[in-house]
Symmetry: C2
Subunit: 196 residues, 2 copies
């Protein structure tokens, strides 16, 4: 953790701190990433496993001022407020069909989610943070970014950068600027048959 | 890497080796995981980010001989051949609706994929390997494991354990027992608008 924030998360057992120290801040410094940092994010994602190794993920990113202005437009207002400061914005896409085929890939979202997680963890490895957003207008994103929705779904928008200070945020967002909690393991893990 | 296998993967830039050293073997030793190892896998997954922090993932696992015999039944024959040796089998589920709501969560598969990736990477952290499979009969899995498909989708089966030797596998699978490759980054990463 950094910037005086105490991580309130208490892992229930020992795990690589990449997992429990990863969270989704809203306050980002505008300092740009180096090219090597940006490449490393996508490189980590590239090695993700996928159904038939079909690698259905696709990343559009914005670093220039003009591209970032375009990429924030589809975000809902509450996301745009903070995400506009981040030096790197990404849309995570998933190809709907298997490569060179008309066959629908019903695992594409699952696989793209795995690739996003690799990117988020590699961000922490670099001292950066990544924050994924579901709050955006998919049709507007497709229109502005020329994404063919018959071939690709748009699954998430992501902001990446160094953490800023909570007081750069509007008060309602500043109050949220800390790692959130999770359900305990017994709520999501069971041995044997499903017991609900 | 271990057991004399040279990893043919050449990362295009420096990334945490957890990413490039993670791959999906089929030869597993039957040695059971410790309880701490199994807990750490799910603990890593637990800290995954999700839409509205709704944590739609759910894991069913099998360690006992009886549970493993049940969990391998829905696998396609080619997966059952090798996965039956793994000491830990998991089905990754995703809750279809937001908690306490009738509203469909269209991000559940993406979020569950992210949680699966955390589990796979924590496996490497422990010196273990995780191999996800799409090849299983979803309806049979739901029937045998009492999974209500109206509330949960079943997204992947996973085998976890220590790596075994390729020669324990049938010849056709032994030939596949090495890390596979990926497309180069420019195939899946673009700046600005989508160019196809």
């Amino acid at each position: 953790m950094s910037r005086g924030l105490v991580n309130p998360r208490t892992p229930e057992c020992e795990v690589n701190p990449l997992f429990s120290d990863r969270w989704s801040p809203r306050a980002f410094l505008s300092s740009p990433l180096t090219e090597a940092q940006r490449e490393a994010l996508f490189e980590a994602a590239r090695w993700t496993p996928s159904c038939y190794n079909d690698q259905p993920w696709f990343f559009l990113y914005a670093e220039s001022e003009a591209d970032r202005a375009l990429f924030v437009k589809p975000l809902v207002e509450k996301n745009r407020q903070w995400a506009k400061a981040a030096p790197l914005l990404i849309y995570v896409l998933a190809r709907r069909h298997f490569s060179g085929s008309e066959r629908e890939n019903r695992h594409a979202a699952f696989d793209a989610g795995a690739a996003w997680m690799a990117l988020a963890l590699q961000a922490r490895q670099l001292g950066l943070y990544a924050h994924a957003m579901a709050g955006f207008d998919r049709d507007l994103a497709a229109e502005l970014l020329k994404i063919p929705l018959d071939r690709y779904d748009i699954l998430a928008a992501v902001a990446v950068g160094e953490r800023g200070e909570a007081d750069q945020l509007p008060a309602d967002l500043a109050a949220l600027e800390k790692p959130n909690e999770r359900q305990a393991l017994p709520s999501v893990v069971q041995a044997g048959r499903f017991k609900g």
